[in-house]
């Protein structure tokens, strides 16, 4: 899969299939998957990078894993996020 990685801490924000196209632009990041487009207006080629050839861990959460030497490891001191169990 392709990983969208935050440069400031080298953590994976989101995984996309290998078929996705990820364009890092000066004022945004644009991901295209078939007919679907996802734009990240807060990000750009200075804030994000793309790492290919990674597999998404089953317990993945945004920014839980950092990329170290091309492999994934859990961030030191990470506490799992609690997702929505509400209404």
């Amino acid at each position: 899969m392709k990983a969208l990685v935050r440069r400031s801490d080298n953590t994976v924000g989101e995984f996309f299939p290998d078929s996705a196209s990820i364009a890092l632009e000066a004022d945004k990041v644009v991901v295209t998957q078939g007919d679907a487009t996802i734009t990240f207006p807060d990000d750009n080629d200075s804030t994000m990078s793309v790492v290919e050839g990674l597999e998404q861990p089953e317990d993945f959460q945004p920014h839980k894993y950092e990329v170290v030497d091309g492999a994934l490891s859990v961030v030191d001191g990470w506490v799992d996020l609690v997702f929505d169990v509400e209404e």
């Binding site: 969208l4 679907a36 959460q61 929505d84 509400e86």
Partner: protein, 537 residues
């Protein structure tokens, strides 16, 4: 035969009791027969001008202009209940808004896709014509796992803005759509509102003073802090997300919002994850295109208050906050009022004490789940809906009650809670008021039908009768503008039928008589003294 003198002519008059009862008067040396003057009616009565048609024996009210009218009313309940268009699916977390150009109720929801075993994001439009409800085709706007959803109609741009939590990582995301008839066209593809951070309790609301929408959420990736951003929609339906403001520096969830059109700000009510889930509020307004926190993280009450919602009454500039009160262990439904106080602040009527602000029935004690509120601008009444359960006669149908507020005392007057749906076993109820057809739409998950999405039109019973305007019974039939004789207290009306002697009767909402009070106005009509006669109370 008896003898009398005609006062007007000074002639002698003879009354012939064995014939037709007419008078025989002496006139020019001959006896002339003439009908006697009508006898004055007996008992208490008044003569008033009729407004509209009144039938003999009708119950009658005194109008504020001094005319009288027959009592009219309409039954409440469920009308045109239908299965929503994606009828094979489990529906959850329905939200909605009214599109005032196309005159459609627009619904978004999380919809289970049996082919992919995934929860899609779906949007659809409903048309209300009179008491008939129909749906257009469902438009799937997200085929990833879709968690919470919400929708707002940007009136200035004439586009719909949808916010949703995308994938199981709950990335906050917005899209925009145009609507023509019941057909949606995506005008803005997915925009992440906050990079690769996760969001909870996403909400979006139109800001009529700044011609934009404002999104609210808890930022899961940042300790669930409450955050808001203005989102500007162009006339072509392209979205621009502006800078974030943090309205709560503690964990937020179960966010509910209203826009206060008098104070020109967004009121956000939520549960504080870092303070026992107690209810808090914050205020955000938009300056230019920048969402700006004006009041951050204020406590409303330090007690258990769940399943809540808020609604705004612009006619009185007050907010009603509904909830299931866990603080006293009853889980019954109560209302707390939030009253603007100073600049960008609210006072409130506090945790319920006693039962004055309770909208559910007791005994037996009825719990209120998933309370949802609307303000009806036509009746100028708050509407609160919930699914109720008293373990005996009420087992999770849609329930509803209307209420008004006396702002001089903050006293709430509730009309009797009623069961609105024919289905018992609902969840995720979501009301939307259609200001074109003046109908209340409610979508819900029907747990008696495979958790499919259902929706209907819901009405409260209505009547012209109040606790103070009942006058009496019509003693004849009258058309509009005629002088009507109305029998009043202490008189006997003899134009009834089927009454049971010695039974007290009450005036019903439609003007008929019944043996228990109307749910809308407790007015005693009188006591039956014959099957056709009632002694007016």
């Amino acid at each position: 035969m008896s003898r009398a003198r005609d006062v007007a002519s000074n002639n002698l008059a003879l009354i012939n009791p064995t014939s037709d009862g007419n008078l025989l008067t002496a006139s020019s040396g001959a006896w002339v027969s003439q009908a006697p003057a009508p006898a004055p009616p007996s008992g208490n009565q008044v003569e008033m001008v009729a407004s509209g048609t009144i039938a003999n024996g009708d119950t009658v009210i005194l109008n504020s202009d001094g005319t009288v009218s027959a009592i009219t009313g309409a039954a409440g309940g469920e009308f045109s209940e239908v299965t929503m268009s994606n009828n094979a699916s489990t529906i959850m977390k329905t939200k909605g808004t009214f599109h005032s150009v196309e005159n459609k109720v627009v619904v978004v929801c999380q919809s289970y896709n049996t082919s992919t075993a995934n929860y899609d994001g779906v949007i659809m439009a409903a048309t209300i014509s009179g008491d008939t409800l129909t749906f257009g085709s469902a438009h799937v706007f997200n085929t990833n796992y879709t968690n919470d959803v919400d929708v707002a109609y940007d009136v200035s741009a004439n586009h719909l803005v949808v916010i949703y939590e995308d994938t199981t990582s709950q990335y906050g995301t917005v899209k925009a759509f145009s609507l023509s008839g019941t057909t949606f066209t995506e005008t803005q593809s997915a925009l992440r509102i906050n990079s690769t951070n996760s969001a909870r309790s996403v909400r979006i609301q139109y800001d009529p003073d700044n011609n934009c929408t404002v999104q609210f959420c808890g930022n899961i990736s940042s300790s669930n802090y409450g955050q808001a951003r203005a989102i500007v929609c162009s006339n072509s339906g392209a979205l621009t997300i502006h800078n974030v403001t943090t309205f709560a520096s503690h964990g937020t969830e179960k966010i509910k919002t209203i826009y206060n059109t008098t104070e020109n700000h967004h009121l956000i009510v939520y549960e504080n994850l870092n303070n026992s889930n107690y209810s808090h509020y914050a205020i955000v307004n938009v300056i230019g295109t920048q969402a700006t926190t004006q009041s951050s993280g204020q406590s409303i009450m330090q007690t258990g208050w769940e399943q809540s919602d808020i609604a705004y009454n612009p006619d009185q500039n007050i907010v009603a906050f509904s909830g299931q009160y866990a603080g006293n262990g009853s889980y019954e439904g109560y209302i707390v009022l939030l009253i603007p106080s100073g600049t960008h602040a609210y006072t409130n009527t506090g945790a319920p004490s006693g039962t004055a602000n309770r909208f559910t029935t007791n005994p037996p004690s009825e719990t209120a789940s998933w309370t949802r509120m609307m303000y009806n601008p036509d009746t100028q009444k708050f509407n609160v809906f919930w699914y109720g359960n008293n373990s005996t006669t009420i087992i999770n149908p849609i329930r509803g009650a209307q209420f008004t507020v006396d702002t001089s005392t903050n006293a709430i007057t509730f009309e009797t809670a009623i069961t609105l749906s024919t289905t018992s076993g609902v969840h995720y109820i979501n009301p939307v008021y259609d200001t074109n057809s003046d109908r209340m739409f409610i979508a819900y998950q029907d747990q008696t039908d495979g958790n499919k999405g259902h929706a209907g039109i819901y009405k409260f019973p209505s009547t012209t009768l109040t606790t103070s305007n009942f006058l009496g019974f019509a003693s004849g039939s009258y058309t509009n503008g005629q002088t009507a004789t109305i029998q009043t207290t202490g008189n006997v009306d003899d134009a009834q039928s089927g009454l049971v002697i010695n039974t007290t009767y009450f005036v019903q909402s439609d003007g008929s008589l019944g043996t228990s009070p109307s749910g809308l106005a407790n007015v005693t009509a009188g006591k039956a003294i014959a099957a056709t006669k009632i002694l007016i109370a």
